[in-house]
Each structure stands twice: as C-alpha cells, then as structure tokens.
C-alpha cells in the first residue's frame, strides 16, 4: 500500500510536470514545470533503490550496517540533480535573451514574433 502511494506520487509529479511543460502559456512557467518533472524522475529512481529496514550506505565507527539501501540510484540522482541545475541555468539564460529581444515571455506572442521574423 505504501509503495502504491509513493510510486503514484512520483509518477504524478512527472505527469504534472510534462502537462505543465506543454500547456503553460508563459515560458518561465514551462521551466518551472520542467523542474517538477525532474524531481518526479529523481524520486522514482530513489524509490527504486529503497529497501525496507535498510540503513544509509555509509560506514559509522568503522563498520558498514548489515542492511543498506541501494547506493547506485542515489549516486545517479546526485549527478542528475547537478545536470538539472545546469539545464535550468541554460534555459533561463535563453529566456533572458528572448525577453530582451521580444519584450515578452508569453508563448503565443513570442511564437508570433518569431514567425514574423522567419517569414521576413
């Protein structure tokens, strides 16, 4: 039961993020939706490596606990978070430029302005 709730929560985060990514009319909100989807994916990975009764995979006082959670997904999530920060920074840098050029971040207005420029 606990597993169903936790997995549904993580999948729901991904679904909310992707729905927001494609539906949001403001470009900055699309970036925020991407962040939500990312955290959902990270949560799914963490849950896949969780073990009931498992301890942190870190040695205390010179010896490892007998039952540990899986360290591999944790390492993957660690790197995924850092890559996520890099992607967000790149996306926001692009948004800054879009705002400077077109004066707005509304998706429909930016698209119209871009099409106008392309068809020139």
């Amino acid at each position: 039961m606990l597993g169903i709730i936790l997995y549904s929560g993580a999948v729901a985060l991904i679904v909310i993020g992707i729905a927001g990514l494609v539906r949001s009319t403001h470009l900055f909100r699309a970036v925020l939706a991407l962040v939500i989807a990312e955290s959902g994916a990270n949560l799914l990975l963490m849950l896949a490596g969780f073990r009931l009764g498992g301890a942190v995979p870190i040695a205390t006082e010179g010896s490892f606990p007998l039952a540990m959670v899986d360290p591999v997904p944790q390492a993957m999530v660690l790197t995924a978070i850092v890559i996520g920060v890099g992607i967000q920074a790149l996306a926001i840098a692009l948004l800054v430029r879009v705002k400077q050029r077109y004066g707005t971040l509304e998706r429909s207005k930016v698209t119209a302005a871009m099409e106008l420029e392309l068809n020139k």
Binding site: L2, G3, I4, L6, Y7, S8, A10, V11, A12, I14, V15, I16, I18, A19, V22, R23, L44, L47, A48, G49, F50, R51, L52, G53, V56, P57, I58, A59, E61, G62, F64, L66, M68, D70, P71, V72, Q74, A75, L78, T79, I81, V82, I83, V85, G86, I87, A89, L90, I92, A93, L94, V96, R97, Q100
Partner: protein
Amino acid sequence: MSDLVKRVEWTPLLFSVGLGCLLLPLFLALPFGNSPMVAGEMIQQAAQGVQGAVVDSVGAANLVTSVVLAYRGLDTLGELAILFAAATGAGMVLQSGSAALHQNTKMHKHIDSEINLGELFDSAATMLTPLLLLVGVYIILHGHLTPGGGFQGGVVVAVALFLPSWARNGGGQLSHKVISRIEGGAGASFIVIGLVALWQGDPFLTPWLAQGELGELFSAGTLPLLYLMVGLKVGAELAALLKYLAIDEQVQS
C-alpha cells in the same frame, strides 16, 4: 480557430496522463522496499569484506561516493562535461548580446556604484564569505566519509565566491580570468589523476593511492582528491553562471 486551440490543449493532457498510466504499472511491478539490486549488492559485499566479492573495495566510508567516483568515475567525468557545456552555453548566450550593451554599462557605472545595497548587506557579505568557503571546503573534503561531496560543497563554494560581488552590486570582486583558470585546472587534474591509473596498468580512473583506515580523512586513495577537483570545478562554473546572470540583470535595469 477556437476549435483548433481547444484540440491543441487537450492533446498534451491526454499524452501526459497516458504516460502516467504507462509508467505506474511498470514501477508497481517492482516489489516495493525489496527491489533487486545487482550492482549495489556487489558493492556492498566488497565494502563489508565478504569473501569472494565480485568487485574490489575502494575503502570509502560513504558508498555513494565510491559509486560516483570509483565504480562510475567515467560517468562523472561525462557529467562534468555536460555541466561545462551548459555553463559555456549560458555564458555564450548571455555574453553575445551584452558585448554591444557593454558601453551602456560603462556609462551607467558611476550610477551603479551609487546604488548601494546598504552597510548591513555589505558587512554581512564580508563576514559570511570566509565562513561559507570553510563550510564548502569541509563538505567537499569529507565527501568520502559523510553525506556531501564535491557537487554539494561546490555549490556552497560558488555562493561564497559570488556573494561579495553581488552585495557590492557587481563591484568586480570576481575575476573572470581566475575563475576560468580554477575551472580548467580542476578539470585537467581530474583527467590527469585518471591517466596516472592508466599508466600504472589499471583501467582509467581507478583509485590508486593507499586506501588507509576506513573513516579517516586521508583514506580511500585518490577519491578525496578527485572530489576536491569536482568541487572546485562545480564551484567555479556555478559562480561564473551566477555572474553572467547578474551582469545581465544590471545591463537590463
């Protein structure tokens, strides 16, 4: 026209709900809290000193660190490359336009220096910077013993590097030359440490210094050194990114 808008709005919703319906059964098929761990089991057996373990132990108290830097060290190198590409890309995007606006900034500079964020902010930045640097370096250097490491500590170091220049409204505290030298040197050192292992006849990025006592600061071979390089690189990259965004904001205002 309104028909088209409605259809376009419904399709993505349908897609995302469908994706959820696809993902959920897949993950529910995993036994929760008892999922199989193949690589994790091997690493744990090696760390616990079980006889006949498949992989060698690397002697780090934090198993996540041993996965990040030893068993999957090449992935971490690739990940550093991605971070570098993202930081370079953001720098390129933001700098290309600000070159034209640079004269504008120079003109406004005397105005900028008058906009002071206040004595309190200024003093707080001065006092916090050494403290933040200390905490960041501590987190980096203890990455193989406690939760933390180069990525987390690097972010703290980045804030420490960026804070003075932010508090003084871009007072030029952060030299771009120094930042890029730190970044390049750290990245090169990471690769050189990996190449030494290759020269000794081991695979690339195999830890090669003495493993030492489990839980000591000087243990786990080259892992602390590698994490120090990761920390410096992440710190320098994020500080440069923050600086680009801050300069841009000033140009705009």
